[in-house]
Each structure stands twice: as C-alpha cells, then as structure tokens.
Amino acid sequence: MTWTNPLTLLRHGWTRHWNPDRPVRTVVSNLPFEDLKKREQPNRRYEGNAIRTNKYRLWSFIPMNLFEQFHRMANIYFVGLAILNFVPVVNAFQPEVALIPICIILALTAVKDGWEDFRRYQTDQQLNNTPCFIFSRYEMSYLIKRWKDVRVGDFVRVLSNEIIPADILLLHTSDPNGVCHMETANLDGETSLKQRKVVPGFSSLGEPFQPQTFDSTVVCENPNNNLNLFKGYVERPDKRRTGFGIDSLLLRGCMVRNTDDAAGIVVYAGHETKSMLNNSGPRYKRSKIERKMNTDVLFCVVLLFFMCLIGALGHAIWLETFSSMPSYIVPDSNGNYTPSVLAGFYMFFTMIILLQVMIPVSLYVSIELVKMGQIFFITQDVELYDEELDRRVQCRALNITEDLGQIQYVFSDKTGTLTENKMVFRRCSVMGTEYCHEENAARLAVISGANEEEEVTIYQQTKLPPLFPLEELQDVHTGDKNHANTQVTAASRRRSKVAAEAQSDMETVVVPDRKLILEVDRQMASIQTGPYLDFFLALAICNTVLVSSVTAQRQRVRVNVADLAGAERVGDVLRALTHSTKTYSVQQICQKVISSERKVKSGLSGSEEVCYEAHSPDEAALIHAAKAYGFTMMERTPHYVTVKLPDEALLKFEVLDILTFDSTRRRMSIIVRHPHTKEIIMYTKGADSAIMERLGNVFSDCCSKIKCVEQWCGWKAVCFSLKVISEQEFRAWSAVRQEALSAIEEKEERLMETANFIESSFTLLGATGIEDRLQESVPETIQALRRAGMQVWVLTGDKPETAINIAYSCKLLEHEDLVFTFSTNRKVLQCQLTNASVPEQSLICVSQPVSSGKLGCIGLVIDGPTLSMAMSDELVEQFVELCKHCRAVLCCRVTPLQKSAVVKLIRQKLRVMTLAVGDGANDVNMIQAADVGIGVSGQEGMQAVMASDFAITRFKHLQRLLLVHGHWCYSRLANMVIYFFYKNVAYVNLLFWYQFFCGFSATAMIDYWLMIFFNLFFTSAPPIMFGIMEKEVSDSTLLSLPELYKRGQHSEGYRRSTFWIAILDAFYQSLVCFFIPYWTYNGSDIGIFAFGTPMNTVSLFTIILHLAIEIKSWTAVHWVIMIGSVLVYFIVTLAYSAICISCNPPSDPYWIMHKQMADPMFYLVCILTTVVALLPR
C-alpha cells in the first residue's frame, strides 16, 4: 500500500457521498473496470444498491434511540428530575428508585422501536439478498448475484415477472419493438401496465445485446423523487447524443410484465432510486388537541412551580421558628445545620422531584396507545369497507384521529371524488350535427335508480325496442345491445351488490346512435374518407390506451411474438395492396388476407374480446365508443397503431410522434402516417377550450358546433381535431423536437414549445360528450356535512358549467340559492373590471345576509384566473370575508397549486380546521396543505392516497368517518386528556397537603414503589380503555343528528375552562382525600405509611369511580378493566407489604396493608371519603 495524502482521502470520502457541484450524473459501463480496486472505479461515487432503512445498528441502538427519545421535552424533564435526585442535598427518594418510571417508559419505547427496526432490517436483508442477473466481463454472460451487489454502471437483466432491482436505463428487450411493460403496483398502486421503450438507437432487433460493446456515456440528472420525470442523454464516443426520458427508465420495485427479458445499465441504485426517494414514510402531524394540551402542560408546570415555591418558603420559615435545632432535624454528616434560606432553596428542588408526577409522564405514551386503538377501530369498521375494491379505510397519519372531529371546512375535488370518474359516452357531434345517445342515457337512469327493481327492467324492455328496431341493427351491435340489456336486468335484480360490475360494463358498452351508424356506413361504403371516418379514427387512435387480451394480460407472451410478426406481415400485404390501388375497396383486400388475419386474431386474443388498459377513464369511454361504431383499436406498439374498421378491414398507422397529455396544454396529439394516402396527419383531442382557441381553418358551422358543445354543460366535452402536416414541415419540426428531447435543462419548457408550435390551426372534426356520474349518496353526504356545520367547497379543474351542474345535482347549490359567478375570460380586458367589481360584490354580499336573512344561502362560483386575482394581496381580505358568508363555494378551472393555495388561505386567514379530499395527482397539493388530507382511492392511481392522512374508497364514507369516528375520537381523546390531568393533580396534591404537616420537608407518606405502581399499573388501563372504547353517543344517533358534530368544531370537549374545572375538581377531591383521613387519625398513634395507605386506597377509589361516572356506556371490557384495576391494586399492595421487609429502606411497608385491612376504620374512612369526594358529581 502506498502512502496517500490524508487530505485526498478525506476528499475522496467526501465526494463519494455528496457532490453538490455536479448538476448531472455521468455513468459509464463498469465492465472495463471490473478488476480494478474500488477506489479506481469510475462510478465509485454513486451509492451501491444495498439499502438500509433501519435507523439503528446493533452497537449504536441504545445511544441513538435515547437520543431520539430525548427529542421529546417530557423525557428530558423526567430524566433531569431523576438526575437531580442524585444530588444528595435535594434528593427526595432513593435515587436509584426514582429512575424507575422514566426508565420503564424509555425502555418500553426502546423495545418497541427496536422491534420495528428489526423488522425493517429483516425486510431489507431479504431485499438485499434477492437474486438478480448482473453481466460479468469474465464470464461474458449474466451471473446470478444479489441485489446488494448491483452498482451503478452494471448491466442487469430482468426477466418477466421479476422485480427490478434498481433504476435501470432500458437498453434492450426481447420485444422486437423495443418495448417493455412494467407494472408499478408496488410503487403507486396502479395495476395498469406502463410501457417503457429502449433508448433510441439501442433497439438492435433480433441480435443479442452485448454489454461489453457498450462504450457510450450516460448523462442524466441527479437523483430526485419525481416518478414521472427523468431526462438525460447517451453520448456516443463520436459525440452523438441521444436523448431519453422517463419512458426508458425501469424503476426499482416495479415488475416486468409481458416481456421476456429486459436489460439495461443501472443509473441509480439503492437509496438513490426513485422509489426509495419517494418512500418518505408516514407523516407526522400534530393535532389541534395536542397543541392545546401542550399549553396545558405548561400551566401544570406553572402550578408545579408555585407549589414548590410554597414548599420552599414554608420550609425556610418553618426552620426559622426554631431557636435551637430539635433532635428530629438531622444535621449533615459533619454535624452542621444548613442555614434555613439555603435549606429552603434546596427544598424547592426536592419538591419538584416529589411532585413531578404533576406533569403526566405517561400521558404521551397513553395518547399514542389510545390513538393506535382508535385507528384499529376505524380500520375495522365494516361500514367503511369497500366490497368492490376489497379495501378498508386506511389510516396513514397516526396521530390526528381526533382532528377528524373538528373539521370546519371541507375542500373537495369533483372528478373521482364526488363523481365516479367512470365516464359514459353520452353524445357526440360531428359536422355540426348532434347525435344524442339517448339509450345510454336511459341505461344510466336505470342504474342510478336501482331501487325500483322490477319496474326498471320492464321500463328497459319496453323502451328499447321501438327506439331500436332489431332489423336495423348490425350483427355487432345486436350482440352489444343484448349484452347490455341482460347486464342491466341482472344488475337491477341483484341490486347494488353487483352494481359495480354492471357499472364497469356501462363504460365499455356503448349503444350506438342509429342516425350516426347510418351516416358512418354511408361514408364507409362510398368514399372511404370523410369527417365521420376521421372522427372515429381519431377516437380510436388518439389515446395512450394499451391493448391486451384478457387471457394474455398477465402471462408471459412468448407465443405472441411470432404472432406479432405475423400481424406485421399482414400489415405489409395490406400496405402493399393499398399502395398500388388507392381506390380499391379495402373490403376486397381484406377478403384476400382474411385467412392470415384470422390466424393473427386467434393468436392475439383468441376472440373478439380486446382488453384496453387505459390510464384515464375518459380515454376508456372514448375508445369503447369508437369500438361500438366498429372502429376497434386492435394493437398498439410504439411505432404502429392498428385499427379495425367496421368492415373488418385493418388499418395500420405508422406513429411518428405522440405529444402526451399534460394539464397545462390540456390536450394530446398523435402524429401518424396514413397507410393509404401516406399523408402525415395529426389527430388532437383535448378539452373544448384547449382545442377551440387553436382552430385554424374555421368551418362555416363552427359557431353552431361551439354552441352545441356549450350546451352540454353537464358533461365533459372532448373535442377532436385533425391537421394534415406536410412532409417538410414535419421534418423541420421533428428535428427541433429531437433536440428538445435530448436536452437536459429546461426540457419541459422546450418540449412544450415544440408541442404548442405544431398544435395549431386544426380542423375541427367533432366533439364528444362524456358524462361522469355522481357517486352514490353524495348529496346526502354533503347535506349531512352541512348540517354538521361544515362548509363544503368544491375545487375542480373543470369548466364552470360542468361544475355548476354537478354542484346542483349533488345539492351543493340549491335552486333557490343566490349564486354569484365571477369569471374573467378576457384576462387583460377584464382585469381592471374585476378588480373593481369583486370588492363591490363582496360589500353587497356582506350586507346581504343581514338584510335578507330568509335567503341566507349564497353560493359563489369563481374560476381559476379570477381566483388568482381574488387572492392577490389587495383583494384577499375581501375575498375571505365574502367566502365566510357563502354557503357553498365552487372554484372551477383551478390548477393544483391554486387548490392548495385556497386551502392554505382559508386555513391561515380564518384559523379553522380544514379537510381536503381528492383522488388524483392534482389533489396532492391540496391534501398536503390541509389539516387533514383524505385520499379517495379510485380510478386515478394512488398518488392522492399516498399523500393523504386517511384513505377512503367512496365519498360517502366521509360522512361516517367524520361524523361518527371523528366525533368519537375527538370526545374520547379530549375526555381522556382532561382526565389524565385531573388524575395526576388529584394524586399529587395529596402529597402536597401533607407537606403542611411535615414541616415542608418533602416527605411522602406513600411508599415510593406504590406511587410508581399507582400511575403505571393501577390507574393507567382505565383511562386508556376510556380513550379507546368510550361511546357517549351511539353511531346511529350521530349519523341522524349531524348537529352533534358542532361540539367538536367549537372545541367544546376540550377547552381551557374544562381544563381548569378538572383541576379545581382535582383540588377538591385531593382535599377531601387528605383531610378526612387526617382528622380521623389526628392525634392517634398512626405511623406515616399506615397513614398513607388509606389515602392511597381512597384516591384510587375516587379516581376510578370518577372515571366510572364519566363513562357513558359500559361493556364487558369496561367492567373487567375497572374491577381488575382495583383488584390488582389490592393484590399488589398486599403482596408487596407481605414481602418487603427491608427492601425499600426509607419506608417500611411491611404488613401495613394487612394491618389496615384488618381495621374496620380503614373501610369506614374509604367509604366516607369516596362518597364525599364524588358527591359534587
């Protein structure tokens, strides 16, 4: 070994861990450096793949855990007191014994932490030792190694159904198209498959991937936790750069599906992988009660301070009264007496030690136990269980259960939260003609009115035939229709239990409109092109839906590869034929290839059943609508989309580019080359506004179309448009696009620019209306929340018309309500206007509730741009003031950031408890901003759930969660906290009163062990049980009388006054518990501990019976715990005083309890004292 400069070593060590100067990460292949020492490896800086999520190591467990625990003030306080007890001049108890309670609490916590940490360690070990394939240069093949051996720069191969060990840049797959599917269920809970592409230029078809030839450098961004964003480029030795994005990255923890094997280079490993960076664990929020409680703990400290001060002064004055020292004042070891002032000063600290229990040690531990119990019962609630998703309510934040009982403002998302987010195709408009799909509407009515069982079926049967003469139906459609019909009948028979199944069929089965079918057929037969065909092609193509057959979905798909190749051949034939004969009927060609096509079909799916895996439900609705009209998307690969036309012909489009959907553009486009005409066509779909403003070549009927779309206010309107791009134009754009793709800085902005550039001057094809149905019992839930005194706001990204419509249907707005609508469409022009009008309006509103009390209900509808204006500094006060007077507020077209800004604004300005409920990624901000965030696990993945504190499956569960569990948790916890304070003060005051009779010398008349046990065992279980199981009002009462919820909103369960009343009560009871025994035994020959025993017993009875009076419902558990506590007290005390002869030196409990229990006076004192102490109650 050569001597190295320690400074360089230090620097090495530093850079290995963190290099802030480098904005990008450069990864090269490890293979050429395989035999080098670790220090010379080029990728040595990056972390290895072994993970360690356990906080402690074996040797550092005790110090680290103690350090963690001492972050809690209470622990420091008690340890401080215990240490103080070791100072000889001030100690009150045996110093070793005084350590016991804090040690028990610390040890309990440490054992729990240690156990959990050990479990984490075990799972880590299991993960780290999972086998995987790593390429080795010596063996020239993949070797089985462990996950922990994976390093950045290694080449790793993952087989189908295997879990990906690290973040891998995909360089090779077995799929001829260079795609690889992965399931991200472990990461975000979405079970749909995600498609990943090989980095362009590496998908050398057919030939095996040879990692040893990889000589490029991978440059990518530093590790971050964004699961949907990744950018970088591969630089070849010849300086050529190829960009890649998130669609080339295999994420750790995901599972490879439908792909035989995939290989790539590791770019992030271990803790730097995206999944690990996302794994932040559950959140720690402090609840309102806890904040309040902490101030009350401070009050207790002040009280304690005064009591100690009284003790100190009393002791000093008492000492002053003696002219010479009596024999019972013990001098120090040198025989000197401490001056009385100094003795008083010492006494102050001794008193703190003696009365330390005033600050409840066990309160924090008990609260955590109680919350665990409460969470257990919430998750066990069968009413909150969703049969359909097989999911219970999830509690992710563990310490804010009682906040559920104090909510004042509810902010809700619309789509997916209030509504099903299951889209149903309702109508469409092509070429200015509107086609109402009334049958779909009729069917919807059936489902929503599922309570009229049989009539529904009759209604269905009678209504359909005249509208839908059988003879006019084509084969495909009869099938569909019958299917639907039986489904509906079945659904209504089996009622809501299987309604879910029927509902999922609702979106897939679309009954086509007769007129439209005819129109399509006419065009199909005659000209082969035309707006109708284009419209449906757009419907079928312009999406990101993946096709998978039902059976092949989750299997290895080796068989499919051959068939896919076959499909390609068919496509080739088709293309060749169409090329030569342009006007040739496709039908004829199809007949020619029908034999080969059938083969393909059988290989692909075996039947007509094609399964779509759509990311969003509206895509699913649209593609199913297209399918109903005969335009079935058969296959999607990165380069081709195959569509089957109504006449069974297959049309294979070459995909040139896809501009994916994002929430700012609010549209997506697909650029394809038409197989017949070779034209480059861009199909774009998007929200009506996003399309309308970019229409170039305006049809004459455009205006009527717009009007027609505007009228569909209840439904989500999606417009489709088309644009033909010339070859040069596309090529020029494509170059810019590629550059943007490989960019690292400002990649998103540049991509956006390019997208905006190409997405202009469309030709409008048509529009579709999709309806999103309300979830069951949403209006009832909103009504109940309202009655419970909560303000319900709806924040949605939808347009105002849709939002208002939904608001009316879910009873958020009533028809007699006065609704103000603020909106600014022309931003610049109206900016001034609104600036003036908002305050004016608000003034009117403020005066309105006063003048027109009978109306009282004001709804406010405000849209995004206006909202941002209203939230500007000068208007924000008026806006908040206005909102206070509104019964319902509806914010439309708001961005996720605005959602969270609104929540924050209300939370801060009005100082209220807020709750946000949402289901999608766009609600994450809002959920995190609110005091309580609720995620609805629905159609849009798990992001909202991951960010939430509680996760439910239906909006209606909110009612039970808040009104029942929230109320319970709140009142239970509030009562328990109050009781805890009471209990400790009552007990400690016994000791305090005694000080007046022992010269303020801090004597305890109760044996110290019994004092410890008193808090730890005898009186700890009942309040915990009280906090978990108390039920002052039954759930049915709470649900039928939501007004009861207001008690929690106004914090009536736990107020300063209740706290002080409890303290006063404690004072009274302790006085009674002290002075009745005092007068009874005054002047007799009773010993100290014989005097303390009845007091201890009496206060146990008082404390337990006090709780018994508080308990409103007694179950068997209550009885067992209450009686058990008393029994345990007697057993332990008897045993202790029988065994302990000289075990606890200052006190001599020996046989005292027995002596006392043989004395009838003991019982008489106990009965009298308990009755007197509890008489005021």
Binding site: E68, K112, E116, D117, T123, E183, A185, E190, T191, P282, Y284, F322, S324, M325, S327, Y328, I329, V330, D332, S333, E368, M372, Q380, D381, V382, Y385, D390, R392, L398, N399, M942, G999, S1001, T1003, M1029, K1031, W1079, Y1081, N1082, G1083, S1084, D1085, I1086, G1087, I1088, F1091, K1112, W1114, I1141, S1142, P1145, S1147, D1148, Y1150, W1151, M1161, L1164, L1168, V1171, V1172
Partner: protein, 367 residues
Amino acid sequence: IMASSYGAKEEDGHHPGSAGLGGAAIRTKKPDNTAFKQQRLPAWQPILTAGTVLPAFFIIGLIFIPIGIGLYVTSNNIKEFELDYTGTDMSSPCFNCSQSWNSTNTCKCELFFSLDQPFESNVFMYYGLSNFYQNHRRYVKSRDDSQLNGDERSLKEPSKECEPYRTNENKPIAPCGAIANSMFNDTLDLFYIDPNGKKRPISLTKKGIAWWTDKHVKFRNPGGSNSNLTTVFKDTAKPVNWHKPVYELDVDIENNGFINEDFIVWMRTAALPTFRKLYRIIQKNNDMTPTLPRGNYSLAVTYNYPVRSFEGRKRMILSTISWMGGKNPFLGIAYITVGSICFFLGVVLLFIHHKYGNRNNSSDIAS
C-alpha cells in the same frame, strides 16, 4: 416515534394490487363483523335521571346516618385521660426538670391526678408528643432497616442514610440513625392512691405494645441464637443521646436489643407532628373491679427527654379502646353530617323534581 413506525408496519401489510394477484385464494380484507371490532359490544348505558339519583341520595343518607350514630356512640364510650407533664408552667412539678436538662443526671418529678370515672377493661397507656416532626423527610430516612433486621454486615457498616449518626469514635452506632438517637426515654410510673392515702403501684405490662410482625419478623437481634447480646454488640457504640447501650434496654432477653418493644414502637415513625405512642398496657384484673377505679393517682416521671427546643409538649394518656381504636368523634360526626346532607339534598331534589319536572314534561307534550 411510535406513530411513524406503526405506519411502516401498516404499509408492509398493504401492497395495493398484491391481493389481486393472489389469484383464486383471494384474501379479502373485509373486517370481521364481530361485536368487539365493530364497537357494538352490548353496553349498559347508565343515564343519570331523577329516578336513579334521588334513591341514591336517600340510600346514602339512610346508611350513613346510622353508621355515624354508631361511631359517635362508640367514640363517646371510650374513656380517655390526658395529662400534660411538660413542665412549662412555673407551678408544674416538672418545671425544674424541664428547665435544667442535661444528659448525665436524671431528674424526677411526680404529678397527681384523679379519674372521675372508672376505666373498665384493658387500659392503654400512651405517651404523647406534640410538635415533634417525626415525619420530617430526613429524619424518616435516618435509619437502617437491615441493621435492625439483624444483618451482621449492616451492624458493622451501617447505611449511609444514618449520617451523621452512623459512627461514633470510629465505631458503628447500633442502632444507627436519628430516629434511634432521639428515642423517647422518659420513664413513667403510675400509682393508685388509696382513699386512705397509700400509694399502690399499678402493674404496667410492656409486652405486646409493638406489632407482632415487627417484633418477630422485622426486628431481630444480630448474632442469631447467640443470647449474649453484650458480645454481639461488642464492637458497636451506643447512640450519642442514649444513656445506656442497646443491649441494656431491658433485662429480659426477649425484650432486649433491637427487639425491645419500646424501641420498636418508637421506630415506627408517626405520621403527624402531634402523636401518641403506646407505652404500657394495664391489664384488666380478673376480679370484677375496674382496671382503674375512680380515685386519685400519681404519675412518677423520670424526666430525660427534652422538648423545649421545639416547644413541644409531653403528655401521658390513659385510654380504653374499642373496635374503632382510640377516642375520635370526628368520623361519627362526619358520617352523620354527610348522611344528613345527602338526605336533605334528596328531599330538596325530590321537591324540585316534583314541582318542575312535571312542568317540563307537560310543556314537552304541549309543544
């Protein structure tokens, strides 16, 4: 801390989608529909109404008043006689003794008193001290229980708690500590003065004044069966304030050393600054005459114990005893008072309930 790790556990068990992959054996997450988990356990819900509260008041009142009367009567039947012999008054016979106290020479004084009523049954003789804070924290601690339990090692090496009464002239003090050091050492003798003026000593039993458990279990002489206490305590020093060493407390071997009952009684520290401790028992005679007949008595005091420094008082108490212990009317009065208050409240509430309860009901019906 607890919260966060609990969450991790929760998540381990819950991988969304994993249940779906399980295939045929779908493990449903549906919570058990049991009464406990659904919080539907059969519950008794006591509701405080006039119907339940009023009888409670009456019952408490009816039970407490007889108990109180019983206690009061019992307490009144107990005969008690107190005699203060501190000697702060010039007129008191013990005045001289109290003024000039020193540890070397003993001072004797004699007080005369008369009993108005005869004391039947056993009479307990107490000495009482007031303003003596035997419950001072450092005083209470200043003892070594294992030494008193006969532990040889503690005898040689007394506990640190005994400081500064742990060693004297490099010899361990036995028994060590402030409590033992300040042991009450007055001697009281009681004489009955016949109507003809003759002084007759009354026999005082010193056996049985301490708890049986203390005498036989808690306190033991070191050296086990070695009955020669002088050799056992050979290397120890007597407490500074004591006149004689511990093995000379009594001549009776069963009442000497640590198991001397006067010593044991003293070592059980009193709870309150004014206390009495059992000194002797005057056993009831076999014949029909009362234990202490009416008449004149004299108390001869060997005055050793100083109380002037804390302005304390010393008393001699003669008392008969009942099942409820010594004379104390408080508990009886308290029971009677509480019982009466309950009864009274019950009546008042019944009246209110009768008058306004009906009105409420009728108004409810009317509206």
